[in-house]
């Protein structure tokens, strides 16, 4: 193992780079800010590559660990490390950041440096969340990451951006305050440790376990988001600029799901088992109820936002099957959803940049004027409806198999996504892309340019690669998932 602090680089390269971009100042230097931001994003991704290539798939232990004392008085440490549950998200996050910078290249003409910097800083903070092994460090990153996203929606967002930004902020803040209480309680009980790994081993009676579980459930459930605390997401997506939506869907939603794996399941396993029916029920409601709601959306972004909630329902469902297929399937679904939902929002962004409308009714016959775009959009729409050979299939397939293993009826309800997902995705595609040219605006559309082609092609390659050969993705997870399941099966009472 190398001595280079790779995780620190993954966190601080984008953050410091982001500050550097910020330093380019006003929009007179916008071209410089863009180039610099792109360079930082690429550098940020490059430093994460050794995390994968150097990853030891045989162990469930934390790797690339960094441990330095931070606030000695309260035993708070700068403690980083990744395992099979988290490493892929660091890479995904760094990777998506590059695409986000590319997506904002032309559209954002106002406060360019600040826009780019916000994304870079957020990217670093999110890497911090995925690699923090200290409760306070986690919490700091978790809260801090709210701020850039809040600003992105609030400054570069649509007409109703302030309402959306505040709704987003308050919703998630409510959740994280409960988490803070839980973290402080664990600190007390563990005799003064903020180490998440220590908490994994901490014996707890059932009552506090349940309370802690519920606190985490609200904190992470809001982020995922789970039904019924999901209504902030469609509003946030609709108002956010394209890049904001991409990061929100591809990365931010994964934070909550990741929290379940790092906190809820291993710290309070008995409560997790007892309350599994609750989480499973909420997840299934997300899959079915939200699937129907997505069907009738008139706004493309809202539709994809609801589709995201429905897909994330699969993630939480998979976790609480407590079997390898379910948990690994959920993790695969998270990665895939990063690619697919990111791509869907980028596609909608491509249309929005040209038409300044997200209403399905304003479109029709786009394929006539934008055939290349239509081909990409078809691929991502199919991935969104879980077609085999795309990444969207892998996770859904595994979770459904895991669910049938757990209980036939849960699998039955979950599998309805096959129909619902196809229905809302294809119906939107039909109305937007197929048909005769609907109006003169559609007739004037220009097909995607080289830059747009580049980021869509990169994502298309990812979606297909993961669909055709998911082995390299799941291989990383095995050891950690098995250890997690073994750990969760042991009572802490």
């Amino acid at each position: 193992m190398t001595d280079i602090p790779l995780l620190s680089l993954a966190i601080w390269v984008p953050i410091l780079g982001g500050l550097l971009v910020l330093a380019t100042g006003s929009d007179r230097n916008a071209p410089l800010a863009r180039m610099l931001a792109f360079a930082v994003a690429v550098a940020g991704f490059v430093v994460t590559i050794p995390l994968y290539t150097g990853f030891d798939t045989t162990t469930s232990a934390m790797q690339f660990v960094e441990l330095t004392s931070w606030v000695p008085r309260f035993n708070i440490n700068y403690h980083l490390g990744v395992d099979g549950l988290s490493v892929l998200f660091v890479l995904l996050n760094a990777f998506i950041t590059i695409l986000v910078v590319m997506a904002g290249w032309q559209v954002i003409q106002d406060k360019v440096a600040q826009y780019m910097a916000a994304f870079l800083i957020m990217s670093g903070l999110m890497n911090g969340i995925f690699s923090a092994l200290d409760g306070v460090l986690f919490y700091v990153f978790f809260e801090a990451s709210l701020i850039p996203l809040y600003l992105i929606i609030g400054i570069w967002g649509g007409a109703n951006r302030v309402y959306a930004a505040i709704k987003f902020f308050l919703y998630t803040l409510l959740g994280s305050l409960l988490m803070l209480i839980a973290l402080l309680y664990l600190f007390m009980q563990s005799g003064g440790s903020f180490s998440i790994l220590d908490w994994h081993q901490l014996p707890l009676p059932i009552e506090p376990q349940i309370l802690i579980f519920l606190a985490f459930l609200i904190a992470f459930g809001v982020k995922v988001p789970m039904w019924p605390v999901h209504t902030w997401l469609p509003d946030a997506h609709v108002e956010a600029p394209t890049g904001g939506s991409v990061v929100l869907a591809a990365i931010a939603l994964k934070l909550g799901a990741y929290g379940f794996l790092r906190f809820s399941l291993p710290i309070v396993p008995d409560a997790a088992h007892q309350l599994a029916p609750l989480v499973i029920t909420l997840s299934l409601i997300a899959v079915v109820y939200i699937g129907f709601v997505a069907l009738v959306q008139a706004d493309m972004k809202k539709l994809v936002a609801y589709s995201s909630i429905s897909h994330m329902g699969f993630v939480t469902l998979g976790f609480f099957m407590f079997n390898p297929l379910g948990v690994e399937g959920a993790l695969v679904q998270m990665i895939s959803h990063g690619f697919v939902s990111g791509a869907m929002f980028l596609c909608i962004g491509v249309l929005y940049d040209r038409m300044h409308s997200r209403q399905i009714a304003d479109y029709g016959g786009v394929v006539n004027t934008m055939p290349k775009f239509a081909a990409f959009f078809m691929l991502f729409t199919m991935a969104n409806s879980g077609l085999p050979a795309t990444s969207g299939f892998v996770g859904e397939f595994m979770v459904v198999l895991g669910a049938v293993q757990y209980n036939f009826w849960i699998g039955f309800v979950a599998a309805t996504t096959l129909i619902l997902g196809a229905a809302y995705s294809l119906w939107m595609y039909k109305r937007v892309v197929f048909g005769k040219i609907a109006n003169k605006h559609v007739a004037e559309l220009e097909d995607i340019n080289g830059r747009e082609f580049a980021f869509l092609a990169i994502l298309a390659a990812c979606v297909l690669a993961m669909g055709l050969y998911p082995f390299p993705f799941t291989e990383v997870m095995h050891a950690s998932v098995n250890e997690l399941l073994r750990h969760v099966a042991v009572s802490k009472l």
Binding site: K167, L170, Y171, P228, T231, Y289, F292, V293, A294, L295, V296, Q297, N323, P324, L325, E328, G329, G365, V367, N368, M378, M382, L387, P388, A389, F393, V394, F397, M398, V400, L401, G402, A403, V404, Q405, N407, F408, W409, G411, F412, A415, T416, L418, I419, A422, A423, L426, W427, K430, V433, F434, G435, K436, L468, Y469, P470, F471, T474, E475, H478
Partner: protein
């Protein structure tokens, strides 16, 4: 000699390479380039399939992994091939029909702007279908299953400007997804109880599964698995009530109606059940279910063929009905007869569809049979080949369809499982119906009065699509005085090449396929099921069977159907109209296709939209946002409003407040002591 395993791999990859070249570099390689690379790819696949066929015939089979797709939960998810007699037969059928369709497309699509795209799609389809039939595991089966569905979706909607086409393709995909929903659950149950996706490993545990009960529901496990899998087959092979997508799929260009929606893809369900015979054999309940669904499809979809005026829709309903026959054969454990009929049907139905396509070219894209008549004079090759195809379809002795259909009917006759008497009634009456609608079409198109070129009598053949805008383009029809013409050689050559097996293949292959050793060890029939055993005892070669066939009920029913069709549509054309008037309710029932579409449109599509709107408005906006979120926001706002009353910004008021506060505190303090 090249390694056999490399050959196996090349069979699907050759068409895939063609599809990628034509799809991504269509502009660069041009139209000719596109059809050359794709035809080359499929030709290679066909040639290699012949080589593999000889290898299998020599007794070599293969079952192995190509690569491990994923591992999770102790289960291997693999891509692999199982090459045996069933596989190689399917490979031959798929690649041969596909090759014919590729050649035919050069003529049929010659004026279409999406030429390269079309070739790319049909080659991609060939790849997917080959992956499906060559699979040795359920994962890859599901892959191919959904991939052919995708290509079918793309091709039905090929003319994406036509509202009917893009409605039909979405409908096809969604109805298939309903089937796949069952299919996926079936696979889920298999994985949950056997921990494997590999066919042979699962079959090895079949006996064990048949005595297991499901954990939560208490159902017999194997029956549940088989019915779930069969629901997938009902979607793909268009069995009632999941048949609704197939007639509408005729919106796609005719070559794909022949390739995908007649010869190959729709038979995937039949193939799958035959492949799963070791499982289905152990559940009589599942077999009865299969039998009844198949029999219903065979008869009742045949009836609908009678009232269609669109030439392609007649052939489409005929396909539904024939798929029903195959399903019936599966239900009575005559798997080899089902597969045999699958093969003969692939040839003669592809022929009939391509023949219909040739007629459509000749008629300048008019598909209404009421505007045709007497075409035999103008299109001799199309006429003769269509006649041969029709004779094969109705099961005329010595034609391929005779051997396969007669075997099915005999097997139903011999079967004793519940539902077999209903099935026998359906398949026998179905023979009459098949002959009637086939020759109704034949006479209307090729014989009688020449009705074309009369613009004022142009019937709108899309009248049954009231809910959709009629599509103006692509339906030109012949101008007054214009005559139809025979199609170019790229169109007629495939007709001739398909006519040969349509006539002969049954005669030459019935021996090995039904009564020989060809499917030994691949298709499994339990001792408790009759299957084809009784038939085998009375079988004395194809000639004797055909001669015997002349004396049996099916033959006379078929002849009756032809005779009635001749009488109604050649001799006394006034009779059908009279019958239509007399039995108006029945005619309207058939005209509306038993109201399946209307019901689905209102109940499922409308219901889903209403439910979605209801949940969104009442749930998300009303309850969650309206009451919970904005309610608490309002509460907070109200509290803030109240407290704001005290924060006026006037210094004297603050001072006053402070004084009051101090006064209260002091009072409290003094009173405490």
């Amino acid at each position: 000699m090249m390694d056999m395993q490399t050959l196996y791999l090349l069979v699907p990859l050759a068409p895939l390479a063609g599809a990628i070249l034509a799809g991504l570099f269509g502009k660069q390689i041009g139209r000719a380039g596109a059809h050359i690379v794709t035809i080359l790819g499929v030709a290679v696949a066909f040639a290699l399939s012949v080589v593999i066929y000889q290898d299998v015939a020599a007794g070599n089979t293969f079952n192995g992994t190509v690569y491990t797709w994923m591992q999770a939960g102790g289960i291997n998810f693999e891509v692999g091939f199982q090459i045996d007699s069933l596989t190689v037969m399917m490979m031959l059928v798929v690649t041969f029909v596909s090759l014919m369709v590729h050649i035919y497309t050069i003529g049929y699509m010659s004026e279409d702007p999406g030429y390269q795209r079309f070739f790319s799609y049909i080659s991609l389809f060939t790849f997917s279908m080959l992956m499906l039939v060559m699979s040795n595991n359920f994962l890859q089966l599901f892959f191919g299953w959904e991939a052919v569905g995708l290509v079918s979706y793309l091709l039905i909607g090929f003319w994406y400007e036509r509202p009917t086409a893009i409605y039909a393709n979405m409908k096809a995909f969604l109805v298939n997804r309903v089937g796949d929903f069952g299919f996926l659950l079936g696979i889920g149950l298999i994985v949950a109880y056997t921990g494997s996706l590999n066919y042979q490993e699962v079959f090895a545990k079949a006996q064990e599964l048949s005595v297991t009960e499901m954990a939560v529901t208490g159902w017999p496990l194997l029956t549940a698995i088989c019915i779930c899998l069969f629901i997938g087959a009902m979607g793909k092979s268009a069995q009632v009530p999941l048949h609704v997508w197939l007639p509408d799929s005729m919106e796609g260009p005719t070559p794909i109606s022949a390739l995908i929606h007649a010869a190959t893809m729709v038979t995937a369900g039949i193939f799958m059940v035959a492949r799963m015979s070791p499982l289905f054999e152990l559940s009589d309940t599942a077999l009865s279910f299969v039998l009844v669904i198949g029999a219903t499809t065979a008869l009742f979809m045949g009836f609908l063929g009678i009232v269609q005026n669109d030439i392609k829709r007649v052939v489409a309903y005929s396909t539904l009905s024939q798929l029903g026959y195959m399903t019936v054969a599966l239900g009575v454990s005559a798997y080899s007869a089902a597969v045999f009929h699958l093969m003969t049907h692939a040839f003669f139905k592809a022929l009939l569809f391509l023949g219909a396509g040739s007629v459509i070219i000749g008629m300048h894209h008019d598909q209404d049979m009421r505007n045709m008549g007497g075409l035999r004079k103008y299109m001799p090759i199309t006429w003769i080949t269509s006649l041969l195809g029709s004779l094969a379809l109705i099961g005329f002795p010595f034609f391929s369809g005779f051997y396969s259909k007669d075997s099915i009917i005999e097997a139903v006759h011999a079967s004793t499982i519940p539902g077999s008497s209903y099935a026998l009634f359906c398949v026998l009456l179905g023979v009459f119906v098949t002959a009637f609608y086939s020759f109704r079409m034949y006479f209307l198109v090729f014989h009688g009065e020449e009705r074309f070129g009369k613009a004022h009598e142009h019937h709108d053949h899309h009248g049954d699509h009231d809910d959709e805008e009629p599509s103006a383009d692509h339906h030109h029809g012949l101008a007054p005085g214009q005559k139809p013409h025979e199609s170019p050689w790229v169109v007629t050559l495939p007709l001739v090449l398909l006519a040969v097996p349509s006539v002969l293949i049954g005669f030459f292959t019935i021996d090995p396929m039904l009564f020989g050793e060809w499917f030994k060890g691949v298709i499994f029939v339990g001792d408790n099921h009759v299957g084809l055993k009784e038939l085998a005892a009375n079988y004395h070669g194809p000639v004797a069977m055909a001669i015997h066939g002349l004396q049996t009920a099916p033959f006379w029913l078929a002849m009756g159907g032809v005779a009635v069709a001749w009488f109604f549509y050649m001799k006394r054309p006034d009779i059908p109209a009279a019958i239509q008037r007399t039995f108006k309710p029945i005619h309207s029932l058939l005209e509306n296709k038993y109201f399946f579409d209307r019901f689905n449109e209102i109940f499922f599509a409308g219901g889903a939209r209403a439910l979605g709107t209801g949940l969104w408005k009442a749930g998300d906006q009303g309850l969650i946002d309206g009451v919970a979120v904005n309610g608490s926001a309002r509460l907070v706002g109200w509290v803030a409003q109240m407290s704001r009353l005290f924060q006026t910004g006037h210094l004297y008021q603050y001072a006053f407040m402070m004084i009051i506060g101090v006064f209260i505190l002091l009072t409290y303090w003094f009173n405490r002591g």
